[in-house]
């Protein structure tokens, strides 16, 4: 019974991991750039959340996800417009990687200087402890609602990209950056919005993760690696693949922790390495 519970919790946790990765998957899909500062933005949004909780002590953290997402959207647009768009058109694929790595180094150390290196936690009050019994299993209400929110966001993103005019423009830009110019689309502006969307999704994940696990300015590295593993395991550019990749990692991590309480993310990393060895194109390569 304890294993069933562990696996269910892994699935619930993994939905959050999927959310960490889907923003990165969007950027990889649209502009073929891996944003190495993704993890730092996830942590930054958690810090913004902590600050907002301090300013509005009466408001529940889950409500504050919305303003944090709006701030993250703005930061994403700014990051893309001011920095990344300058290098994304260079033929050299490393310029953007190294640039975002530089941004990550600056952000991580700025957060250490501003917020200190202590571990933090976002308090969710009674909701964090509440649990519900399904067929004799204890499942937390908070993890369940986080998974539900992840599914809603995944569905929303999928609909946005496949059913709307904006989604059509984004997909066209991803396929042919130079051709869409002829149709009057400014690829730079599309990239700005895509990065905003990516970091808004990351910030939601960052806030929710801060409720479930403690974080410090140094957590960005771990968050980035998880997000990246989700993207690669899920198969590049597929959002539901990212969700499944996240769930696989979440289950691997919690089962690993059950077997070996101080393993940390070791088993998730090992699963990723084995996955890459066996299926370099992702475990869930499906057409969407």
């Amino acid at each position: 019974m304890i294993w069933v519970e562990t696996i269910i919790n892994g699935i619930l946790y993994g939905g959050l991991y999927g959310l960490l990765g889907v923003g990165l998957a969007l950027i990889v899909g649209v502009m073929r750039v891996v944003n190495l500062s993704h993890g730092e933005f996830i942590v930054l949004s958690a810090f913004i959340g902590v600050s907002l909780v301090g300013v509005f002590p009466g408001v529940h953290p889950l409500v504050l996800v919305l303003p944090v997402a709006v701030i993250a959207f703005g930061l994403g647009v700014a990051l893309q417009a001011v920095l990344i768009n300058r290098v994304v058109t260079r033929p050299d694929p490393f310029a953007a990687i190294l640039l975002t790595f530089g941004v990550a180094v600056v952000m991580r150390n700025l957060m250490v200087e501003i917020y200190g290196a202590d571990l933090r936690h976002l308090q969710a009050g009674q909701l964090a402890q509440a649990s519900t019994g399904i067929g004799g299993l204890h499942v937390g209400v908070l993890p369940l609602s986080i998974l539900a929110l992840s599914v809603i966001l995944f569905t929303g993103l999928q609909l946005l990209l496949t059913r709307t005019r904006f989604g059509r423009i984004v997909r066209a830009t991803a396929d042919h950056r130079d051709v869409v110019r002829l149709m009057g689309v400014n690829p730079g502006r599309v990239y700005n919005l895509a990065m905003g969307l990516s970091l808004a999704l990351a910030s939601v994940a960052g806030m929710l993760l801060a409720i479930r696990a403690s974080f410090s300015p140094y957590s960005g590295v771990e968050r980035l690696l998880v997000a990246f593993e989700v993207v690669v395991l899920g198969g590049l550019g597929t959002f539901w693949g990212a969700m499944l990749g996240g769930i696989t990692l979440g289950v691997a991590e919690l089962v690993g922790l059950r077997l070996d309480p101080n393993a940390g993310p070791l088993y998730a990393h090992l699963l990723f390495l084995v996955g890459v060895l066996l299926r370099p194109n992702g475990l869930f390569r499906v057409r969407t």
Partner: protein, 368 residues
């Protein structure tokens, strides 16, 4: 695969530049004499500082070999720094030998690990390779922090350092560091002048064209990856010998690769002189910011990160190309002249012609 270059390759500098005999030999002899005599001329603090800078130069040069010449951006290069250090500590303690005697084991272990890791990491391209190596580094770090024999998370000391006469510990570290730094620069130079180096650079500049003329892309990258791992392992082993203590948090710190990357980008990626210039700037900035202005290490990393971002945006070739003109051309040019003037139009290319031209390039004067 063009490094960070945007300009067309220059053809002005002659291969070798001012760096050829007999003046080169005179400079080299003076340099060796200066390094040998240095421990009598400068204090222990200065020796320690220079050792650190020279080991950092070696690591940066290895990262430059990967990113600037082999088209492999590794964000997990710290794994070899840490493995080298742990290899030296473990071998020295279990064999009860002075640390310097077991030093050769560190690069050997790192080369072997790199050879195995390459088999599956090379399935990943570009950014995926970068983060794949990083994940590998995290896995090794976590595994070592769970191994009690290696001290777990607390780390281990180096009691066998007492087997070395304490008066000679600092000078020996200094000399070995200097030798590693010099070997990293001239070893990379020799490698790049060889057939492997030519192959690497053709792959960097256009991997499809390189493969079409018979360059074995995988093999050349494999050689570069293994050499870079050995170099970082050696430098890491010496670096932690100097501190007499190693723990996973320090040995596998991503800041190792951050430093390598920033040094190479500021100095000039894809040049052998760039990392030398980068190391000078890196350590000058560090001393100025932390000693003169008393800022914390965090602010200094922020400053360096900003400089690196500015370099990528405005000076993607780094600062070396700006300095080069004043110093009379490249010191360590790995550029080659075509064996005969190019004649156009060429006859219709056939498979046979393609193979022979590859051989022709390989036999360029100055090869080896």
């Amino acid at each position: 695969m063009t490094g960070l270059r945007r300009s067309a390759p220059r053809t002005d500098a002659r291969p070798g530049g001012p760096w050829h005999a007999p003046r080169a030999w005179a400079i080299a002899a003076l340099g060796v004499a200066a390094v040998a005599a240095a421990p009598w001329g400068i204090g222990e603090g200065a020796q320690r500082f220079l050792s650190e800078a020279m080991l950092m130069l070696a690591m940066a040069q290895m990262w430059n070999l990967l990113a600037g010449y082999a088209g492999l951006v590794s964000m997990g290069q710290q794994v070899f720094v840490g493995l080298g250090a742990y290899c030296l500590f473990f071998a020295s303690i279990s064999l009860k030998l002075a640390p310097f005697w077991v030093l050769p084991l560190a690069p050997l272990l790192c080369a072997a690990v790199a050879a195995i890791v390459a088999l599956f990491m090379f399935r990943l391209r570009e950014a995926y390779f970068a983060i794949g190596t990083w994940v590998f580094s995290e896995v090794v770090s976590l595994l070592i922090s769970k191994t009690e024999r290696l001290g777990g998370e607390r780390g281990i000391g180096l009691p066998t350092a007492r087997l070395v006469d304490p008066r000679w510990l600092e000078p020996l570290t200094f000399w070995i560091s200097a030798a590693i730094a010099i070997a990293s620069v001239f070893g990379t130079y020799a490698l790049l002048r060889s057939r492997v180096g030519l192959g690497l650079m053709t792959v960097r500049d256009n991997d499809i064209a390189a493969a079409s003329i018979g360059v074995d892309v995988w093999r050349n990258r494999f050689i570069a990856f293994v050499i870079a791992a050995a170099g970082c392992g050696l430098a890491g082993a010496v670096s932690f010998t100097a501190t007499l203590y190693v723990a996973p948090g320090f040995a596998f710190d991503p800041n190792w690769v951050v430093a390598m990357m920033i040094i190479v980008i500021i100095g000039g990626i894809g040049t052998l002189e760039g990392p030398i210039l980068g190391v000078i700037i890196y350590f000058t900035l560090r001393e100025v910011l932390t000693v003169v202005f008393g800022l914390s290490a965090g602010w200094y990393l922020i400053g360096l990160g900003l400089v690196a971002i500015a370099a990528i945006l405005f000076e993607p070739d780094g600062l070396w190309p700006l300095v080069r003109g004043r110093l009379g051309g490249d010191w360590l040019s790995v550029r080659r002249e075509p064996p005969v003037p190019l004649q156009l139009p060429a006859p219709a290319p056939s498979a046979e012609a393609a193979t022979s031209s590859a051989r022709g390039l390989g036999a360029t004067p100055g090869d080896g």
